[in-house]
């Protein structure tokens, strides 16, 4: 094993103007600039992107998968947040 392994980076790509950057994968690189350079070679060889973000993986703080049920539970009982909750009489349009 190498003494100092290159840090891991998460790669996000904007595929075209007007869309979000989307997570596509990860790679190892010594610094942020080389992570971007490598991401270009690995993840955009077929013109998949016009903009790249890299984030050091150890800076990603994630919600706890084991607690997911309880964590997202509050939204389950609030169906009135969706338009389909409401009755609209026949004959009403543009609503």
């Amino acid at each position: 094993m190498s003494e100092k392994e290159w840090p891991l980076w998460e790669v996000f790509i904007r595929s075209k103007q007007g869309l979000n950057h989307k997570h596509v994968g990860s790679l190892r690189a010594p610094d942020a600039q080389l992570a971007v350079d490598n991401a270009r070679d690995v993840y955009t060889r077929r013109s998949e992107g016009i903009s790249i973000w890299v984030v050091a993986s150890n800076n990603v703080f994630a919600s706890d998968a084991a607690e997911a049920d309880a964590f997202y539970d509050p939204a389950n009982s609030k169906v009135y947040r969706h338009p389909t909750f409401y009755d609209v009489p026949d004959g009403i349009s543009h609503m």
């Binding site: 994968g25 190892r28 010594p30 690995v42």
Partner: protein, 317 residues
């Protein structure tokens, strides 16, 4: 909170798999599932990067600039595929450097096909057509694998690999339509790569020790023999179309099953090659080790540069 029993965790896990809910890195998973995935994905990753070697052998001798650009792009893709797959193993907690050390020390396996030599330019055709063809057959069902990061990597790999098989077939077709010597070269490559390509699907179902569990976990969706049969059925007509002969005297179409029947596979050869005694096993691993050693100063320099630059940034911040 009540402690959750292992049995309950395991039954919840299997029920997710049965409902086709993907497993993601932070979800609970049985240790055997994790270890099976690390083994399979790392073998797959090793195959991608060792697979660069037999083709790399011909880059400088490609017959023209178009073929050379295509071969370079293909070999570059294989490096990318290796990276996607090593990244997938890292989501399972594996250490990439350790996996590579396992490969270099002979503790890890990779696809036996890459231990055969590439003797002529036609071998680039045979590899693209047969080896990538077989790989695609294996990889398409893996896009639906139960482990999210592996499935997503395979979607990317399959998308990129679709040109690999076509460029190989194009080489074979050009040679088969060329001079008698060129056609002979194509036939010779087919003769040498046909049986190793069939072996790529792994041992017969009856002797495959991992298949049953992997199918239950939906890591695998089809057995080795099913995929091999599918490959034979689609490939034989392709060979006929370009006037090449499959090197199997007993090959015949079975009307009852609508499948081709082949001669039995020489499994002795397969195990010899898997266990390190193929024509190029040593050469491949030596090339990998040399590449790692020769690249060390570059990796070290890049790291030293990054450390120095971050120190300067701190001072000037």
């Amino acid at each position: 909170m009540e402690p959750i029993s292992f049995a309950l965790l395991e039954s919840n896990f299997q029920s997710k798999i049965d409902r086709d809910i993907k497993i993601e890195p932070k979800d609970w998973m049985p240790d055997d599932y994790r270890q099976t995935l690390i083994r399979q994905i790392s073998q797959h990753a090793h195959s991608e990067i060792v697979g660069m070697l037999p083709e790399g052998n011909w880059i400088t001798r490609a017959p023209n600039l178009r073929r050379k650009a295509v071969l370079l792009a293909k070999v570059q893709d294989e490096a990318g595929h290796g990276l996607y797959l090593y990244s997938a193993t890292e989501t399972l907690g594996a250490d990439r450097e350790e996996l590579i050390d396992d490969l270099h020390e002979g503790r890890a396996k990779y696809s036996s096909i890459f231990n055969y030599p590439t003797l002529s330019w036609a071998d680039m055709g045979a590899i693209g057509w047969l080896v990538d063809g077989a790989a695609i057959m294996n990889q398409v069902p893996l896009c639906r694998c139960s482990y999210g990061p592996y499935a997503r990597a395979m979607v990317r790999v399959c998308k990129e690999e679709s040109f690999h098989q076509r460029q190989g077939f194009e080489i074979m077709m050009s040679l088969a339509n060329g001079s008698p010597e060129q056609k002979e070269m194509a036939q010779d490559a087919l003769n040498r790569f046909w049986w190793p390509a069939l072996m790529m699907f792994g041992p017969n179902d009856a002797t495959s020790k991992h298949t049953a569990q992997s199918m239950k976990w939906k890591i695998k969706r089809h057995t080795n023999d099913e995929l091999r049969q599918q490959f034979v059925d689609v490939t034989v007509p392709q060979a006929e179309l370009i006037g090449l002969t499959i090197p199997d005297e007993n090959l015949k179409w079975d009307k009852k099953t609508n499948h081709y029947i082949t001669s039995p596979i020489n499994w002795d050869e397969f195990w010899q090659v898997v266990n390190g005694n193929g024509p190029c096993n040593k050469e491949r691993i030596d090339a990998r080790k040399k590449a790692k050693e020769n690249g060390k100063w570059v990796r070290d320099a890049a790291m030293a540069h990054a450390v120095k630059r971050s120190a300067i940034n701190l001072l000037t911040a």
